[in-house]
Amino acid sequence: MTTNLSKAGDEPVDAAPAAEGAVTAVDPRLLVRQQGFKGYLDEFRRKTRSGELGSLPVVVGLIVIGIVFQLQDAAFLGAENLSNLFVTAAGTGLIAVGIVFVLILGEIDLSVGSVSGLAAAVFAVLNINNGMPEWLALLLAVLTGTVAGALHGFFFARIGVPAFVVTLAGLLGWNGLMLQVLGSNGTINLDDSGLVAKLTNFYFTDVAAAYGLATVAVLAFLGLSLLESRRRAAAGVPSRPLSETVLRTVVLAVPAYLVAWLLNQYKGLPLAVVIFLGVVVALDFVLRRTRYGRQVFALGGSVEAARRAGINVAFIRISVFSLAGTMAAVGGMFLASQINAANQSSGAGSLLMNAIAAAVIGGTSLFGGRGKTWSALLGVLVIQSIASGMALLGIASAVQFMITGAVLLAAVVIDSVSRKTQKTAGRA
């Protein structure tokens, strides 16, 4: 269900103890996973029962949402609606990716909405009002987000102000700065054919693009999985059976080609989708495969343990908040691109809640220490499909708010309950 580079969510479980030397490091009481497909199913069932739900609730949720809205309006699962849904999801999704990092630390960033609005305003003023080249204005706008985030991180990590309060101050402060930057006009329209406009209105119209991307993703996943399995086997550590690798590849390939086919029915592969997926994959790699990512998780698990292991706690905290600010600014550019303007309501309204909700709905824990960038993708799809479906049915925004609120609450309840179940099952 996720396109992780090589090892998806659940770690490979030790194979039969026979794989080891004379001394077995495996407790005999352990339920040793059987080889092959049956073992895979058993493992899945056991994990689900002990509260390790992973992406299961959100995938079920997406299917339910799809069925419900499709029954009400046949256009919901149509190519045009879904293509637009993916494009509009990118902005909020990018912000949610930054939130995932902050949540893994066990903290929260309430300022991302305001920061995204500020970045859009900075870009508009520099590019439109002052005639700065687009690329430079874009760079400075994104850097504005980085600096804003670093400032939050500094007050949190160095001064010791709770992140909740620092970013709450940021929520108000950056919004004020945005209004100041926009000046009396209140709205600055962007260049229709500019770089930022292209972020959400450019499509790779060649059908080969979407299928090509799906093929590259599937082959890369399969190749890296096989490579990893071979290395593991060579090193004598348990590796994933071939049947499981094949199954995972199929589980990835089916939705990938389905979405590619769907996108090609409309305008082709949207640039926004390519960038969003690229960011999710890149940051997933950072989080799970680099020393930096390991340190972020360690901090989410135990700050004291991280400190004693020689991890620079302040640096990690500041960098994570900088990243959240940067992603907020990048997301802000996509949101500005959608309306092709920066205005006083940029970054306001339900954006902040949607971004946090997306991360949590996708399965990143509010309690810190657990999460994936993929949860931002899955979560934002849930949020955006609900919004899109209700807009299609002409449901009033009052009701939309209530339903989105209920979905967020449900996600947090699932998070809390699964954490409790994991505790009783000895897995949290």
Partner: protein, 259 residues
């Protein structure tokens, strides 16, 4: 037992404001020796450990490492010398798996990417040589029992190839079976030729694995005993101070001099 101790404290003193926490404390650890450090609450055990581990450097006195005096003013220095400390509160990350915890802060990296395969291989190797039994090296620490966590924490301290391991009350919160596992592990440390400082309140544990017992009382040495020739009562009276009078002090002095 070799003649030069791997680690020796000579006249170590430490003061916190008006409190003299340690006064002229002497301690020697030889390779392949388990020294139990015992004493009542507030006797200065933790302060002494902190001085050795570089967390709270001593004000006075000399720390000798393999015969030459060294300054241990930072935890990093102690680790570089080869002193590993396992604290009572373990300092493990519940959300990381066993491999992640073992290599936290010293991850093996290949071309900028975490080398999970090599780390897992080395983790299994290490756990196997220590005969540590855990369900899997890929489950979060949270799923392990207290004893298993303790063994992981001790195994973790061994990754840096230390020569001296300090264990701060490793069996304090453990059940019977788990305590036995940890004590087995301490014996394996001795077999590997490591010097071990074992802080414990549990006399049975001390009698079971230690070679010598160093007693601290009110920040001073209150005798060092050979475990085999000393009864539990004698150690306890040294801890509680029942023997702390001029006669025993003199006896201890002459005994030290003879050594």
């Amino acid at each position: 037992m070799s003649a030069t101790p791997v680690l020796a404290l000579r006249g170590v003193s430490k003061r916190f404001g008006a409190v003299q926490a340690l006064t002229d404390v002497e301690l020697e650890i030889h390779p392949g020796e388990v020294v139990a450090l015992v004493g009542d609450n507030g006797a200065g055990k933790s302060t002494l450990v902190k001085a050795i581990a570089g967390v709270g450097p001593a004000d006075d006195g000399v720390i000798e490492w393999e015969g030459r005096p060294v300054t241990v003013d930072r935890p990093h220095t102690a680790q570089e010398l080869g002193i590993a400390t396992v604290y009572q509160d373990l300092a493990l990350c519940d959300n990381l798996d066993v491999v992640g915890n073992l290599f936290l802060g010293r991850e093996i990296v290949r071309a900028g990417v975490l080398d999970e395969v090599e780390m897992e291989r080395r983790a299994r190797e290490l756990l196997a040589t220590l005969a540590i039994r855990i369900p899997s090296v890929r489950i979060p620490i949270a799923s392990l029992s207290g004893g298993q966590r303790q063994t992981v924490a001790i195994a973790r301290s061994l990754l840096g190839e230390p020569k001296v391991v300090i264990l701060d009350e490793p069996t304090a919160a453990l059940g019977v079976e788990q305590t036995a596992q940890v004590l087995d592990l301490v014996e394996r440390l001795r077999e590997r030729g490591l010097g071990t400082i074992l802080i414990s309140h549990n006399m049975a544990d001390v009698k079971a694995v230690a070679d010598r017992v160093a007693v601290l009382r009110l920040g001073r040495n209150n005798g060092t005993f050979d475990v085999r020739s000393t009864s539990q009562e004698e150690i306890i009276s040294a801890i509680t101070g029942a023997t702390d009078n001029a006669v025993t002090r003199r006896k201890a002095r002459t005994a030290e001099a003879k050594k």
